[in-house]
């Protein structure tokens, strides 16, 4: 079986699966249960001056009868005293020396405050510190959380303060509520961070109760925006992780977070450049036992691909990220329907007819549609809506040499519209 152990910015754990800072990592009791289940690390629920929470705290988005495709929370950082949290960290770390325990921290933006709490954490035996510059609700109104993470200068400054006092690795947790995550990421690196963790939650309202017309969650007749997480945010997180991993100036390790629910989600994040991955929503939905499949599934997949360590495939996918202008404009694929697999739902037909390029024809006396290759632009939509795996395959029809938009422009050529002419179209090009 593949070796799943990692060293994330000096923080070691037997597998890359960490519980993200949040409700599942609130107490020593929970950390013990998580480690018993097999988790490689725990990022403690953010420690700082204890707060008072509201009720209720969560909203969720379901999809087609499935629950919690996305989750939103307006819970704040820990509501327990700092010393209680630090004492429990110390005890947990004693019981689980081989696992990673990372203390998530958030205090007011003063050097003194940060020095004070970092020094107290240094003595607990914790393996690292994570700076919560991401929480987008509540704390940000008090000048903390994403209020810091949204300003690269603040991010850099506070990271520097923390590094002055820290004797253990420091990760900076980034907020996705920015135009381009590369800037705060580079700022954290500039401030001396040993690594970054992303993404934190996304500003959101999950829905509106159509009886009361109060947005979710309802706190005595009113609501506030919260932080969105769960499977729905995975594509956003993958892009942000990949864009940092792919950036030539960004050099420090990444802990990937955002909608990870399965071993394959985790593998995708690692391929996009993450070293450890963090999970919260899925554990909130299924409990800590879900880590069993994460470990087993990732190991089996790595074995099947011949990857012996996490480093063997880390970044293989982010390496393939390019600017759009560098993609090959001459690459041509067309849809092909396998008639033996087709079940005759004709969803490909109506998708292409109404929303793409009118390149699929219905066939008299048959439920299997036909592709009109001459007008098919290879957009892929039909193969995505097809409910049958491997029924619609995209086949290459190459002939011309590779040439990107940037290369066309550099050669003084300007590629113009390539809308395929349909029968009856006037030749307007």
């Amino acid at each position: 079986m593949a070796d799943l152990s990692i060293n994330m910015a000096g923080i070691r754990s037997p597998n890359p699966f960490w519980l993200a800072s949040g409700p599942p990592t609130n107490t020593g009791y929970q950390a013990d249960r998580a480690f018993e289940a097999g988790w490689g690390g725990v990022v403690w629920k953010t420690i700082g001056d204890p707060i008072v929470n509201v009720n209720s705290r969560y909203g969720a988005l379901g999809y087609k009868g499935q629950r919690v495709m996305g989750l939103n929370n307006i819970e704040l950082i820990t509501d327990r005293p700092i010393e209680v949290n630090l004492k429990e960290i110390r005890e947990v770390k004693k019981r689980w020396p081989d696992r990673a325990v990372v203390a998530s921290l958030m205090v007011e933006s003063s050097r003194e405050k940060w020095h004070d709490i970092v020094k107290r954490v240094n003595d607990t035996g914790a393996d690292g510190i994570e700076l919560n510059f991401g929480c987008p609700h509540g704390m940000s109104e008090r000048g903390m959380g994403s209020a810091v993470g949204q300003v690269p200068e603040y991010t850099c400054q506070i990271t520097e303060w923390v590094k002055e006092a820290a004797r253990i690795p420091v990760l900076v947790k980034l907020t996705p509520n920015v135009a381009d995550v590369v800037y705060p990421g580079l700022a954290a690196q500039r401030g001396g961070a040993d690594g970054v963790a992303l993404i934190n939650t996304i500003n959101s309202v999950t829905g509106v109760n159509l009886d009361s017309l109060v947005p979710n969650p309802n706190v005595h007749g009113h609501s506030a925006h919260g932080g969105y997480c769960g499977p729905a945010v995975k594509p956003i997180a993958l892009n942000m992780v990949g864009s940092l991993a792919h950036h030539p100036e960004f050099k420090i390790p990444i802990s990937g977070i955002g909608g990870i629910e399965s071993w394959s989600d985790a593998a995708e994040f690692i391929a996009m450049g993450a070293t450890s991955v963090q999970v919260c929503t899925a554990a909130m939905k299924y409990g800590f036992r879900m880590v069993g499949d994460l470990i087993d599934g990732l190991g089996r997949w790595m074995d099947s691909k011949g990857f012996k360590t996490i480093a063997d495939f880390r970044g293989l996918a982010s390496n393939r990220m390019r600017d759009w202008g560098e993609l090959d404009l001459n690459y041509r694929i067309v849809a092909h329907i396998e008639p033996d697999r087709c079940i005759g739902c004709q969803l490909c037909y109506i998708a292409c007819e109404d929303a793409a390029h009118q390149s699929i024809r219905l066939v008299e006396g048959s439920r299997v549609p036909r592709i009109d290759e001459a007008t098919c632009v290879g957009c892929n939509l039909c193969s995505l809506v097809c409910p049958v795996p491997h029924c619609i395959n995209m086949q290459t029809r190459n002939g011309q040499p590779v040439k990107s938009f940037k290369e066309y422009v550099a050669a003084g050529e300007a590629p113009r519209g390539n809308y395929p002419l349909h029968e009856g179209d006037e030749a307007y090009l």
Binding site: G65, G344, C345, Y349
Partner: protein
Amino acid sequence: MLEQDLDRRTQDPEANFADIKPPLSDEYAVVEANRCLYCYEAPCMQACPTHIDVPEFIRRIGTRNVAGAARTILEANALGASCARVCPTEMLCEGMCVMHHMDMPAIDIGRLQRYATDHVMKHDIQVLGPPAPPNGRSVAVVGAGPAGLAAATELGLLGYQVVVFDDKPEPGGLNRYGIAPYKMTNQEARDEVEYLRKTAGFTLKAGVRVGRDVTLEELEKEFAAIFLGVGLGSSRRLQIPGEDLPGVVGATEWIEELRSKPYHEMKVGRRVVVVGAGNTAIDAATEASRLGAEQVTIVYRRGREEMPAYEFEYELALKDRVDFAWFTHPVAVLGGDKVTALRCQRMQPGEPDASGRPRPVPVPGSELEMPADLIIKATGQESQESLLSQVKGLVLKSGKVVVSESYQTGNPRYFAGGDCLNGGKEVVNAVAHGRDAARSIHAYLNGKGA
């Protein structure tokens, strides 16, 4: 399982006749609806004789627009509630579901349809109409079965003053008096009629027999057009000696009795023999079994392969411990003051007959006697010839009314649909006839031909 079945056959009939397709819960309905792929020009829709837009109504259930789902159903099929219960969905919509091609169970279309239609009926939500303003013309509908109710609903919505006549004490036709109670209860049949009456505002005259209590001439004077949805008549006779002994009943009449009084008042006897192997025969056999008969045997002169009953109905009968005597043909009913046995003759398959099936040929010297307390004849029904023959110009062929493509009979003011036209098919076929005939009547009365 078998022990349970045995218990059921001998104890509480009320439980024996419980719903065989119980309703879906809200959550189940949403999850099941969301399995539907929303096919384009869906095969299920094409398979439905009334062409309900199945993917559309299922999608609406998935978005919890249940009344909207019911509207999609009822626009195409006013009797969507009864069809949801009694349609052989395995042979129609669900049989065509593309899920089969992925080795997955078909979408539970029948139960989803029931879910939506139950919702609007239970909460009294009108989803069709309101009817067009009265156009001053009136149409008579003869027969308050599925064809007649579909026609009356359509005509009522078009602004006609519609009067529906039926000779039974209650409207509903076979839905009320002919369907097996584990598919549809009396109350469900009543609720549906009442709902449609509210939708379309037609007048019901139950217990009035056209041709006896009111004459065709009177109808012709009062109504601009007449729709005949009279169904079929009494069960066919076997034409064998002893047939009129007490204890020999027609399936249609016996099921009507079953649907008209408490189960404990039904005299079923210990041993029941049902003659015929169509869907009505299966109904009668399973009902006899559920009433507590110890031994129920279906005798059929042909083999299992030729049996007209649907496969799932056959399996239902097997589960109810009904025995099948294939290639067995009744020749005489035996008994003194009441029936004691059915004398039968073994048959064997011969040369193909007009139907293409092997003609059953008697095996010489093969007679046998099957002891019976009750013999139920389920070999088809007569046509309503005594009434239909009174309509001037109306043509009957093999007992079935001959109509044009627009359901117009040889007498231009008379239209017809349902079992009297096709000799006895599904409720959904009758509904399609009634609806389309109503549209033809509308065209005819507006001078657009029919």
